[in-house]
């Protein structure tokens, strides 16, 4: 079974990232978003656990230490992974590479690819 991607974030950030990634790469299966607004810690755990249910998934979250990250880390089992700091570059890499990689190796690659997509450029003085 191909590794699924579940983007769990605050508000609609995850939904927008999933939509925009598919706008760039095309519609795909097992690539979804959940939001956690208004849910308790226990409810977030149940929501994520019910969705990934022992199958191969990578859960993408927005920031370390936030509820999506903490609760996803609490419920994953072998063959599943959590990657935080989700961005568009990371998600595009996920969709490109997931047919050929298992979740653990893929998660580590995505952190590297996501980090590589972080760059800055300074404006020059006029």
């Amino acid at each position: 079974m191909i590794t699924g991607g579940l983007v769990v974030t605050h508000g609609d950030l995850g939904k927008m990232l999933v939509e925009e990634t598919q706008r760039l790469i095309g519609a795909v299966d097992r690539f979804e978003a959940l939001k956690t607004e208004g849910l308790s810690a226990g409810e977030i755990s149940e929501l994520i656990k019910g969705h990934i249910d022992g199958e191969p998934w990578i859960v993408f979250t927005d920031a370390p230490g936030t509820s999506p990250t903490t609760r996803a880390r609490a419920v994953i089992v072998a063959g599943q992974a959590v990657v935080t700091g989700v961005n568009l570059g990371m998600l595009m890499s996920f969709l490109v590479h997931r047919p050929n990689m298992l979740a653990d190796d893929l998660a580590e690659k995505l952190v590297n690819d996501g980090t590589r997509s972080l760059k800055c450029w300074m404006g020059k003085k006029a």
Partner: protein
């Protein structure tokens, strides 16, 4: 001015707590006071790691609250998952200047007082009594928010 704030939040330690309170307030100490999390090594690590990235603190059980330094100088944030735990914490003698209501889920007999704050008449009675004992009780997500009074009328009818 140094302050100890007790936040009641059923999301426990999360983004607003870590970044809004921990980093921006800022808190010199942040403690999640929760028996269930303290008793589970994996859960405890999940919360202690981000807390200790931001400031001093961690996860303790309710019975350990009495061990917190009583003459602490600085901002200290204590977090409990519900009012029941908050009551136990207050009875331990730790000085608390303010209780802030963060996320309290809806439930039977509870009415809505803010986006994510639902209280029953009994819970409001407990908070009234805490307020009479000299602890300020407010609703606010972040330190920068204008504190709201939980003793005003609910924003929605009972659920």
């Amino acid at each position: 001015m140094s302050q100890t704030v007790l936040r009641i939040d059923d999301r426990l330690v999360h983004g607003q707590v870590l970044y809004g309170w921990g980093k921006l307030w800022p808190a010199e100490e942040l403690w999640l006071v929760d028996d269930a999390v303290a008793a589970d090594e994996n859960e405890r690590k999940l919360y202690e790691e981000p807390i200790q990235y931001v400031c001093r603190g961690g996860v303790i059980a309710l019975e350990q609250v009495a061990e917190l330094t009583r003459d602490f100088e600085g901002n200290r944030l204590l977090v409990t998952r519900d009012l029941e735990a908050a009551k136990h914490l207050l009875s331990s003698g730790v000085k608390v200047d303010q209780i802030t209501l963060g996320n309290i889920a809806s439930g039977q007999g509870r009415e809505q007082f803010a986006d994510h704050v639902f209280l029953s008449a009994e819970e409001r009675g407990v908070l009234e009594s805490i307020k009479k004992d000299g602890v300020e009780v407010v609703i606010r997500d972040l330190p920068s928010d204008t504190p709201r009074d939980p003793f005003l009328s609910p924003v929605k009818e009972g659920l």
